[in-house]
């Protein structure tokens, strides 16, 4: 058999990329566990199990060697990302449905890793959000605001939902959205979960994901273009429409940057290479559009958080963006793209 050049190969491999992404989620998970208890951890463990099972099933049905494909860890990444986005203490079936949708519908029905037009984790999340809105908005109160269940209770919450009737509490984004009578200043005073900048626990979780993302950037797993463009666009939108804190305010830039899934989305969802635009300019456009959409949907839409919707909408647009942002090749006068 003939092998073409190059005969040498760099150190990077797809499983390594995936492992690095998994590793980078650790600080965020630790912070979430600290503030919301063991719920997220239980989510991830159960979700990971379901994901590997679904992946194996799909590979078996498609007649592919199991060992080789399972070793790329992509199913685990999808599961981890989806489980981080789910509310802690979600029932087992909710997680199972979400993971199965993500792996089977959003990924393998389209041809498996690399061929899926939509981000599997976000597709699974949106399917759940639309189908089970009650369970999907039942967030536990953070440490310091409510009581944290222990590990045993967390397991109970997951596998025998009837036995666990956890206290839930609206997230700061929820409150901000529902509010139409109080000034922003008063919101902070009247709701304990708002914390210092953007919500107890949320602000720290966001910072932890930012740290994880920064590490991935340092490891050159992805480029800065998409996440930075997204955060910049979100900040810009929040700053433009920030009215200084009236009862109709959308919230300050800092509030938006550090609440909900902003940082998690910016560094772990928007950077998903498969479903994003590919060129540098394309990624800038892609990220910026997601940032703008996140703000619009958060403030004007029906759901409190918007990263999932914004990402899915832009997944649609990615091929289109690619078409018009082809970089200028060496020795060519004008940029390509367009016929």
């Amino acid at each position: 058999m003939r092998i073409t050049s190059p005969h040498a190969h760099g150190p990077m491999s797809t499983p390594r990329v995936m492992l690095n992404v998994l590793l980078a989620t650790v600080p965020g998970i630790v912070v979430m566990t600290h503030f919301f208890g063991f719920g997220t951890l239980v989510n991830i463990l159960w979700g990971g199990l379901v994901a590997v099972a679904c992946e194996a099933l799909a590979l078996k049905l498609r007649g592919r060697p199991l060992g080789f494909y399972l070793k790329d860890y992509s199913a685990l990444v999808t599961a981890t990302l989806l489980c981080i986005a789910l509310p802690p203490y979600s029932p087992w079936w909710l997680i199972a449905v979400g993971i199965a949708s993500a792996i089977l519908l959003a990924k393998h029905l389209y041809g498996g890793l690399g061929y899926n037009p939509f981000n599997p984790a976000m597709a699974g999340y949106v399917i759940l959000l639309i189908s089970f809105p009650v369970q999907m908005t039942a967030w536990a109160p953070p440490r310091g605001v409510g009581e944290l269940p222990g590990l045993l209770e967390a397991l109970q919450a997951c596998f025998t939902p009837a036995a666990f009737d956890g206290v839930t509490m609206a997230t700061p984004l929820d409150v901000m959205k529902q509010n139409n009578s109080l000034l922003v200043k008063d919101l902070w005073q009247q709701n304990p979960q708002f914390g210092r900048w953007a919500g107890v626990g949320w602000e720290w979780a966001n910072l932890a994901f930012l740290a994880g993302g920064a590490w991935l950037l340092y490891k050159r797993i992805f480029t800065w273009h998409a996440p930075v463009a997204m955060l910049a666009a979100l900040t810009l939108m929040a700053a433009l429409f920030n009215d200084g804190g009236s009862s109709a305010s959308g919230g300050s830039p800092l509030f938006h940057l550090l609440s909900g899934a902003t940082m998690f989305g910016a560094f772990f969802i928007v950077t998903d290479p498969v479903t994003s635009a590919v060129s540098v300019r394309g990624r800038l456009v892609y990220g910026a559009m997601i940032g703008a959409l996140v703000y619009i949907i958060r403030v004007r839409g029906n759901y409190p958080d918007a990263v999932a919707f914004a990402v899915l909408i832009m997944n649609f647009a990615a091929p289109f963006i690619d078409y018009y942002t082809q970089p200028r090749t060496y020795g060519h006068q004008r940029s390509g793209g367009g016929e």
Binding site: R2, T4, G63, P65, F68, Y69, G111, G112
Partner: protein, 204 residues
């Protein structure tokens, strides 16, 4: 004026529609004149895709007649020399679905050229008359030969030859000049696991 409109809504609607129609009609009419394209007629475009072997396997005397037939709605899968690639190109051009080659008209095979075994040729000129592209050189009672670079491999000269001295031979054997890299074969890389849906005989 406004009162009139308010009073007769039906009339208003009618006027509005007629006006809109007139305006858009004018715009379209102008555009049709202004941006008129003197593009190739469709037959030329189809003919450009056909392989020009003039072999007649499609049932038409040459490629252009088939191109005309396609333009008039004949199936696009009757050209074996063009093969699947040709059908795909035609399908793209005509915006129809690509259909598999109609085996009735022959199968896609490697490119061939005619070869006359010269000592056996009796110089009857029958093949000369059959050749659609004048690729055979010869005269009555003189030995004939194929101008290989002009031969399209249509094999129309084989049948008329009374002494059966014409062979169809593969156009070019793989040599140093014609060799090139092939697309990577997933099977050659030891496992059938590239993520494309490689054909799986046992599961199909």
């Amino acid at each position: 004026m406004t009162d009139l409109f308010a009073q007769y809504p039906l009339l208003t609607a009618l006027i509005a529609l007629v006006t809109l129609g007139a305006v858009f009609g004018a715009v379209l009419g102008f555009a049709a004149e202004r941006f008129k394209t003197e593009g190739n007629p469709i037959v030329d475009q189809i003919n450009a895709i056909l392989p020009q072997t003039q072999c007649g396997q499609c049932g038409h005397p040459g490629c252009r007649p088939y191109a005309e037939a396609i333009a008039n709605g004949e199936a696009i899968n009757k050209c074996p020399p063009g093969g699947e690639a040709g059908i795909q190109a035609l399908a793209d051009l005509l915006d129809v679905e690509a259909i598999p080659l109609d085996e009735e008209h022959g199968e896609e095979s490697v490119k061939k050229v005619a070869y006359i075994r010269e000592p056996e040729c009796i110089g009857c000129t029958k093949c000369l008359q059959a050749c659609p592209v004048d690729a055979i050189l010869g005269a009555a009672k003189q030995m004939h030969t194929i101008i290989t670079s002009e031969c399209t491999g249509c094999d129309l000269c084989v049948e008329p030859c009374p002494v059966d001295c014409i062979d169809m031979v593969p156009a070019e054997e793989e040599g140093l000049q014609s060799w090139h890299w092939e697309l990577p074969d997933p099977v050659a890389r030891k496992v059938e696991i590239i993520a494309t849906d490689a054909p799986r005989d046992e599961a199909a």
